[in-house]
Amino acid sequence: MASVELRSVEKSFGSVEVLHDINLSLEKGEFIVFVGPSGCGKSTLLRLIAGLEDITGGELFIDGTCVNSVLPAKRGISMVFQSYALYPHMNVYDNMAFGLEQARLSKHEIDRRVREAAGMLQIEQYLDRKPKQLSGGQRQRVAIGRAITRQPKVFLFDEPLSNLDAALRVDTRIEIARLHKRLTGTTMVYVTHDQVEAMTLADRIVVLNAGRIEQVGTPLELYEQPASRFVAGFIGSPRMNFIEGAEPAAAGVHALGVRPEHLDVSRTEGRWKGTVALVEKLGSDTFIHVTTDTSGMINARAVGNHGFQAGDTVFVTPREGSIHRFNEDGKPVGGPVGGPVAEEGSE
């Protein structure tokens, strides 16, 4: 039995439909990440599951029960908000206990659960403090702790790391991954616009675009077999190069796509000739932006440091089996193909 199931779910605000025909089934214990550009509807979808927004059409099941008209607190979910949303006037203990008090648990049971969650997150020493006496990372732990005490079937995260600085973000990400391993059987739904978070945390990723599901799959599936040009462009950093015009037309498709890390750059020979427009040196990698004579702008990623300079004439060559082909609707045509030499009509 699926832990969370959405059947033809739709959502409109007034006359504007923001989610169209969402069908999705989440397994018990799975870590699912909703990812997509801002405005794609991922947060709305999470809020529908939480019950903070009404479902306009379709049905939502949690543990086999239709919860369309069930109150958020009765759905067996917990939510961690972007701004932490701690109660500023309560200390950490009361923040974590508040939901349990509302559920009329015994004082003893509340105390046990709060201390257990605090121990899990190593925040026992802050239980008497007010949120404003804590650092951003500590507040985030309290917010997670508050969600844990409710012992939810489904854990919802709404961009929980976006208010943290870069270093803390990595630490907290690892912590959330560890938490998921510890809380076996708890389904986690996590919304982010950061694809690195999505790739590192998820068992499966749901890519949303303009209110529709583009693709559902494991991180590597999305990377290797994107179901659409949108997914191909969204997953992977730097983003995939797309080539349109005569070259893909000759192969009978609308566009070719190749990832920067799948390109080799040479001064002497290769498939696409061009001029270096810009070189970005990151130390570990070098990004070389090349204006090609025939195929527009192409970005290549080379490991280590390279001596290319703007103005140099270079050749860019895709590796074996790294070219994705898309038709006019943005759908992939066959699997990835290609190599140093164009393989016209190899289908």
Binding site: L52, P72, A73, M79, F81, A85, L86, F98, Q102, R150
Partner: protein, 277 residues
């Protein structure tokens, strides 16, 4: 046309002095008069000449005036508590819950706050007599709702809109009812706004004159503004100015002190209440 710096500076400070002088002088002069006694009141003095508490003693030993102060305190306090209680729940509904007719309701409340009190005077007089509240302090508690309630609702609504949405949603996920959200989550966050709004409503009720003049008929029931307005001597030429000034200082000093303590909060409350375009 440019002036040397020192002329500009002196002109500026002259302006500042004029502003301070006009603001402070009448109250200063009232205190000065209240400290004089007997015939010396009728000599114009610019600096204190006496420090006699005879006028104050006369007012306090009067007995009725003390009762009248208590009347004012009672009415203003009860009015503040009732209107805050009604307003805080109403403001939550108006600021946090989407429902049909909310905009119209807000407009209605705003227009009631601009109501001319005289427009309801005769109808209110009938209601108060029908309830048997004539010459009772409860008539004022009831009628003052016409201005304190719209004002408090409006200011608290403005304030509550600014409270973060996610905190409320966290409480909803935690299973808190709307009532719990107000009392356990929002109220503790709102006490500065409550204090400011309550203080402004208190001052308004404390100063009210028209209803107090109309709905109370005996001396011992009156509130202080009416009492002061009606202090009179035996004839036009025997108006006890010293007593009037002493009474004025007694009822004003606490207000001035409160306003000076809370001046920053009051300014923000007034702007929230009035400038909302």
């Amino acid at each position: 046309m440019t002036f040397p710096g020192w002329i500009k500076t002196s002109a500026f400070y002259a302006l500042v002095s004029a502003i301070v002088l006009q603001a402070v002088f009448p109250f200063y002069y009232a205190i000065l008069t209240s400290l004089e006694s007997g015939q010396s009141i009728f000599d114009v003095n610019y600096l204190p000449q006496a420090a006699s508490l005879a006028n104050y003693w006369a007012m306090i030993s009067d007995g009725v005036f003390g009762k009248q102060i208590l009347n004012s305190v009672f009415v203003a306090t009860v009015v503040v508590f009732i209107s805050l209680f009604l307003a805080v729940t109403a403001a939550y509904a108006l600021s946090r819950i989407r429902f049909r007719g909310r905009g119209l309701l807000l407009l209605t409340i705003l227009s009631v706050s601009m109501f001319p009190q005289i427009a309801v005077l005769s109808g209110l007089f009938e209601v108060i007599r029908a309830f048997g509240l004539f010459n009772s302090l409860w008539s004022l508690v009831f009628s003052y709702m016409i201005f304190t309630l719209p004002f408090t609702v409006w200011v608290l609504t403005t304030f509550m809109r600014k409270l973060p949405v996610e905190i409320e949603e966290a409480a909803i996920v935690d299973g808190a009812s709307s009532f719990t959200i107000i009392w356990r989550i929002f109220l503790p966050l709102m006490w500065p706004a409550m204090v400011t709004t309550g203080l402004l409503a208190f001052i308004h009720a404390w100063n009210e004159f028209l209803f107090a003049l109309t709905f109370l008929s005996t001396d011992s029931q009156r509130t202080v503004p009416v009492a002061i307005a009606l202090i009179s001597g035996l004839s036009e030429f025997e108006i006890p100015w010293g007593n009037i000034m002493a009474a004025s200082v007694i009822v004003t000093l606490p207000l001035v002190v409160l306003v000076l303590i809370f001046q920053r909060k009051i300014v923000s409350g007034l702007t929230a209440g009035a400038v909302k375009g």
